[in-house]
Symmetry: C2
Amino acid sequence: MYYIGIDLGGTNTAGGIVNEKGELICKKSVPTDAKDTENLVKNIGGVINSLCEENGFSQNDIKAVGIGVPGTVDSKTGTVVYANNIKMDHFPIVEKLKAYTDIPVYISNDANVAALGEAVAGGAKGYDSVVVVTLGTGVGGGIILDNKIWEGYMCAGAEIGHMVIEVDGEDCTCGRKGCWESYSSATALIRDTKRAITKNPDSLMCKLSKEEGKVSGKTAFLAAKIGDKAAQEVVDRYIKYLAEGIANVINLLAPKCVLIGGGISYEGDNLLIPLKEAVRPLQYGGDLVDHAEIKLCTLGNDAGIIGAAMLGR
Amino acid sequence: MYYIGIDLGGTNTAGGIVNEKGELICKKSVPTDAKDTENLVKNIGGVINSLCEENGFSQNDIKAVGIGVPGTVDSKTGTVVYANNIKMDHFPIVEKLKAYTDIPVYISNDANVAALGEAVAGGAKGYDSVVVVTLGTGVGGGIILDNKIWEGYMCAGAEIGHMVIEVDGEDCTCGRKGCWESYSSATALIRDTKRAITKNPDSLMCKLSKEEGKVSGKTAFLAAKIGDKAAQEVVDRYIKYLAEGIANVINLLAPKCVLIGGGISYEGDNLLIPLKEAVRPLQYGGDLVDHAEIKLCTLGNDAGIIGAAMLGR
């Protein structure tokens, strides 16, 4: 049996056909009409139909369609409660799609769906409980327990970036102070790199950022690798706070695997090796207990399509 | 159908017969033989048999026996991995009990079991996802998702007190610094009350503690109620940190209910009203989202028996 996954973004609507194992067979992308929701739905219907027609599938071959939505959803009623980027407010997307397909349709939040994709077929394949931590503009992610997305009451769960790890600490975009996101997002790393550059105008970090024309999430990691001491301090502090948050998640939920994704995860072993080292002593029970493995996401942009497809499995 | 729950403590082994609704029908308690595990098991068997005989139940009336164990358990294999108080190390308690009863036996950690009791028949009756936070010597608790205990990998989950809310903050007994427990346990409240007394030797707190002969978790709450400003500061700070931790749990898991138990919870509305007020602005999504209800535990010491009984439901 096969499944269709739709990764509904503010810019593009990407879809794919996925098999029972979570392997992506084929994919297709069209622009999202973010201004006209009726047309947006019609285009999703179009993606579903063309994926089948162009790849020799009949709609009977497809058990379910899943959609990852960039916003708050009520998965039980198939309603997008609120999605700013695509202008949806209590929009019954599942009902609307019935005009275009007879295949059952499921929805969930896009971050949750991507986490499910990584758990089923990506970096955490084979683990039944996984927390995915995405280090990008913010710190997002998803919680997979017993192979299912944990959505929480009103589908409001897994706002893992908005766990305070320093009371009265750095300002967070959410209004709290000291959220994990305000230390471990790429945005926070860039802020801290800029601060360190101001304090250390002769550092390699400063030189590299001038050459690149900007400070990025890579600046401190790159300068530290070459031996810049001030940059190493930025990286060490970044990893320290990241480790505190990951240890919190492990102590609270004891997942079998914590997966790291998002832009900063492309640092690979430069991030992962010191991170594992830093998390170990912070885990409750220390060496007496087997703790979660910490690994990297592997599916990149396909996680959303694959995870969405797996909603109906 | 009926169930037997056993709350296995370091001092007493308390058992009870519980009906399908989680109502306690009758109970019995015997001393725990913490030095002789074989005898301890025999005594559990004795409690099971006398509960039935003395109350007119046949073993056929009992669907399952559940045991809450004060330690780390492997619920799948029925083994107590480690329990310091009752000297168990990889002890196959479920297997051993087969010598005394034919009723199926289930085990889980005692804090998890008490949380299940509160979720099924106590303060969170009717809520399918509940996080119980116990404010005692430490900060403990349990996580109930879809009406079941979330035990986590190696049954190591729900160490909710060991979530850092202040990086490099107060020393915690676990070895980390700044754990929620090191701000929100009764132990932490007593420490902070003592510090405030040292700074404010003329305060009412100081007078009350001298009269009582000690500083307790009640001292600051009582003095604050009478109007002691220094005590009010202690209480305000205690509630602030408690609120930060509860908001973290809500943002991460979005349970339908957060239940507060343990010694400090006996402050009742003096705790609950300002706590709810403090949590509200810290919840992600603010007033746009319906958030968890915050309530108090209601079963007291019976939570362990009732929750244990519900393991087999």
